[in-house]
Symmetry: C3
Subunit: 461 residues, 3 copies
């Protein structure tokens, strides 16, 4: 909605002469794209270039001058040049004195240089007011006008007034400036566009690995074993039956892995008797990706739900049901309702539904806009209390569903346990230890430690 | 949560005398509503009015004076008057000199006047500091205290200090100020509350048109044809069967239409050999509403999923299933499991589930709060890579589901193809052309063009 | 994503000497946690403490001095002391003159003191520049680095420059500062972390009460009655059958309760002939929790959908279906398709699906990030027009589903109506009154009243 209005503005530029001239150093792709957009938004643009010959590439309404001349025409100069060439600005130091220099550069690798490009620029030209901005916007998006992705432009700089001037331009282009503070933040801002879901990498690779393992485990037991020993071709199990075995197992294990690091942390703190020592690195990292683990678990759980709900639409299931009914009809008898079976079937379904419901609730509260509206106490209530309740319900769902198999020898093909049994190990362990941890005799010292008490103060020296 | 606390504040006004007097010009509905709310929040309010007789309508605790007297009592004056009457402020120019004037007016139509009301006010009274604010808030919401909708108040103005003063009042009323920059943004802010989903209009009308066409097409082939030639009354197909044919068709076509403009853009760029010329207008507009098209496609896909899942609950389906089983039982035979059918049924279900899963993922990442936390690279990865994967899966789902019908003459009632076949035209075309475009010999020049290279630089002059 | 980069920054502190020394008064838990985090982020930290003996608890790299000495070393002093001890700062007034004092204190109860802690501090030390911040962050989260919850730090203060300095520190710690205006907002900020879903309390207790009532009502009629009079043990109905009766009833009633206060408000306004008098308190409160009521209704509706979709997976349902088919097969006859039944079954399913679809749409638009991107006109369109449409569809779904039971005596066990009938009372009443309210002869005066017109202006004196 907002988007639209800013587009209207861009298409019908305000022709009043209020916009101040902006100078752009560099006629590369991004410099040209930014210039185009600025002209559309009503800014007079002047390019500073080594040669004024390549002018046919740049926007028609822009002037092209030498760097020195161009710089004198504007209060704001956008440095659309690569970091390696910043040196050539040094002779211009006098002309650039007091001007607002906008560093829009990006690096090719994370933390490529010891200091950020913007800080480097500020060191080279101490008399100028350097502002970091625009590096998170893509030239292609600016050019095509299809700013579908984030319209946020991170801005930082030491001079408040200079920052304001740049933020006004950002707004005029239909983007949303976000003040990230002083130039110290430039490193972070420069690293930002290079990331590809950094927090998701470990959880995704872990899930893919586990999924592959469980998939082939099931394939061996359900398809190959059946084919070898029972001469039945159930290869179509690959499409739904096996995925629907792997998904719930993954969901349960990953959900338990969300709560496992908290258990470890509690044990470490109890053992050390203080909270003022850092956790081991692996635990720190694990704790930082709990949200991602939980969301992947939710994805598996959702797939499990849909895979289960399509059951009655499967040709195999319909065939099996018909066969059962026909054999009863041919034998002229009707089986009576087995009350125990009815109880088991209904209660594992109900437990699963409630567990999934809480799971989705946890997922919704982890949406940024929801968690921003929730205070620390509320967040802990939802993520800890409701999260454990979801884990308990999902574990119970699994136990009720297949409890009978534990003692049935036919469940142990090739002497291997069903993956269903493997899936219960982690969640049961987490729940048992958590149960111990909420005993008053354990909970009380732990609470004290978390409030700052130390069993053995000398340890922290 | 936040909401509540601000309400508490409003209900239990801070009685300390720190709040500065606010003057309101005009005793119309919005002026009164705003005055009420300000008094509740602890601001002394004085009204400026032509006659002090109509005082019984305005809040009890407010003073009513002549315009000149009222203006002298406050540093901030809220102009709750229609634009046509702004002229009467000119004689007050001297008194209003240096005061902060808050323009809260709205127009009746988009871009009704050449300049925004706030800019017009600033031109009339050059000595005053004009700030645009509050126009997006409804009087009814202020009055009833039920600010369910957006609590955002867009503020713009050329004077930073004046803007700060207004933003402090906004915050004190329990609303969230959003700085939109200089007074140039006033036009956009004044247009904002007049819009009714402007970006959604075209996608929604397109969907409604296509839906109606496909609905009647199905009605003719499935209900009327069957009634005429087979004497069967399947009128109840209108409720579920036909919607569940139209929904997946619409979802697939709209999803393909999301990716079609990108294909056109690539072809145009390849043909022109440059990215520095504007796309035709229709393509620009199409690209801007891709997100909306995608979300409508997701809505249709979700309906398709639910319509499909209720299948086993339908009386007609149960009757058909029973009939099949009973006829087998009466014939004393059991059909063996058809392995091909089992494969087809399971794999189209699995493809559909995975496609829908990716589709929902795309929908979640298009939530503003999620896409704001994602950088350009991540957004492109999700929307382009995962989007194409979803399109491939959904097209495959459709092909596997009904591939057998292509060669069956009974599928061509009245020599017309099934809508299912029509639905495959656009997605298959998109996928084939995209497949060609990722060939290195095509992809390489395209990438170069998108990085700013031009085949024929003279073209852009 | 953003999260990560800031963590990287925290783990690899910028060793340049640009960060200014920060002084912390108080070596309690939060003071130490904040100090740790600041040192990690590259700030030199000096503690002010009564005795410099307990230094082994505080971070290694921090200095510990007397209060006066510590204060002189820094421009920013964080007051990590409880309000009761603020008095001891008075002797330091001269040293603290002009310094930025950051009040991070929280209270134990809402509105515990007449004025906020920060305002109290500002009164004690009128020469200092007091800023409220950090009170919404938990020590445990700071310590462990797992800032999963909101990273927002509310900041307020009367001195803009001081606020900027504090906000820069907040950003450097990887948190997001949110300017809440002047120190008047401190009360609100101090109340914030004490809340536990205040707006949700009434809707949740109401739902729990009603749910319990309907659950036992159903238990009596469906399980106990059947057991006594028909000698059948249907105790397993507790797991799915009864929840799936209670959920839709709750969803429908709560959805109707969302629209009921609007009806009351309209009637009160029509009766009074003015909108300028406050509604009764209960109505005000009711209107403020409509969003919460609606979301709980959506939760019940979602549960109803999933409970319904698992129907074909229930052992009881499969047994009942088999029994029906087998009895037909044994009697050697096939029942013909009942067209009326097919119509009823398909249309109540279709109505339910469409109603639920609109319901989910309403839920999505109430997400903060979505409703912030929607203007008042659009929000009213969705919440009012689409909301009523959802209510109509859901009521129709219920009526079509069970209309036949109204006249069947077997539905009145123990002369009590089915809960299904009870659920229709409120929604039907809402829809009927709403239907009357949109008659022009009623709608016109109501619209006038809402635009500020008064039937009897003297009333408001």
């Amino acid at each position: 909605m907002n988007k639209n209005s800013s587009n209207i503005m861009a298409l019908a530029p305000n022709t009043s002469n209020k916009r101040e001239t902006v100078c752009i150093f560099g006629t590369g792709d991004f410099g040209r794209a930014l210039g185009h957009k600025m002209i559309q938004s009503g800014y007079p643009v002047v390019y500073g270039s080594r040669s004024t010959q390549i002018s046919n590439l740049i926007p028609k309404d822009a002037e092209v001058l030498s760097h020195a001349e161009a710089a004198q025409k504007a209060a704001i100069i956008i440095i659309a040049i690569q970091r390696q060439h910043y040196n050539f600005l040094i002779p211009l130091a006098e002309i650039l004195h007091g001007k607002v220099l906008v560093d829009i550069s990006n690096n090719l690798k994370l933390n490529q240089y010891p200091e950020s490009n913007a800080e480097y620029l500020a060191q080279l030209l101490p008399g100028s007011r350097v502002v970091k901005a625009f590096n998170t916007v893509s030239a292609w998006a600016l050019q095509s006008g299809t700013l579908d992705a984030s319209r946020q432009v991170f801005v930082c700089g030491d001079d408040v007034e200079a920052k304001q001037m740049v933020m006004n331009i950002v707004r005029a282009l239909g983007l949303t400036p976000l003040d990230k503070g002083s130039l110290l933040a430039a490193q972070e801002i420069e690293n930002y566009p290079l990331q590809l879901f950094p927090m998701w990498k470990f959880p995704i690779f872990l899930s893919l690995g586990l999924t592959a393992f469980f998939f082939f485990y099931c394939l061996a037991l359900d398809v190959i074993y059946t084919y070898i020993y029972e001469k039945k071709n159930f290869s179509f199990f690959i499409a739904i039956t096996i995925p629907n075995r792997v998904c719930p197992v993954m969901a349960l294990i990953l959900l338990a892995l969300v709560y496992l690091p908290g258990i470890f942390a509690a044990i470490i703190q109890l053992y050390r008797g203080t909270k003022y020592r850092r956790f081991p690195d692996w635990l720190d990292k694990w704790m930082l990706c709990r949200k991602q683990l939980g969301l992947i678990a939710l994805a598996f759980a959702s797939l499990h739900v849909v895979f289960t709900l399509v059951t009655p639409m499967r040709a195999f299931v319909n065939w099996r049901t018909s066969k059962g009914i026909i054999s009863q009809a041919l034998n002229n008898k009707t089986e009576p309702l087995n009350n125990t079976n009815a109880w088991i079937s209904d209660s594992y379904l109900a437990l699963g539904i409630l567990g999934f419901f809480l799971f989705v609730l946890l997922g919704i509260t982890s949406l940024p806009s929801v968690s921003n509206n929730v205070n620390w106490r509320e967040f802990r209530f939802v993520q800890s209390k409701l999260g454990y309740l979801a884990l308990i319900l999902c574990t119970a769902h699994t136990l009720v569903y297949g409890g009978k198999w534990f003692l049935s020898p036919s469940a142990y093909k090739w002497y291997l346990p069903n993956i269903y049994m493997l899936s219960l190990v982690v969640p049961c362990a987490v729940l048992v230890v958590k149960f111990v941890l909420i005993f008053p005799c354990v909970d009380k010292p732990l609470t004290q430690i978390r409030q700052g008490w130390e069993r053995n103060p000398k340890h922290s020296e």
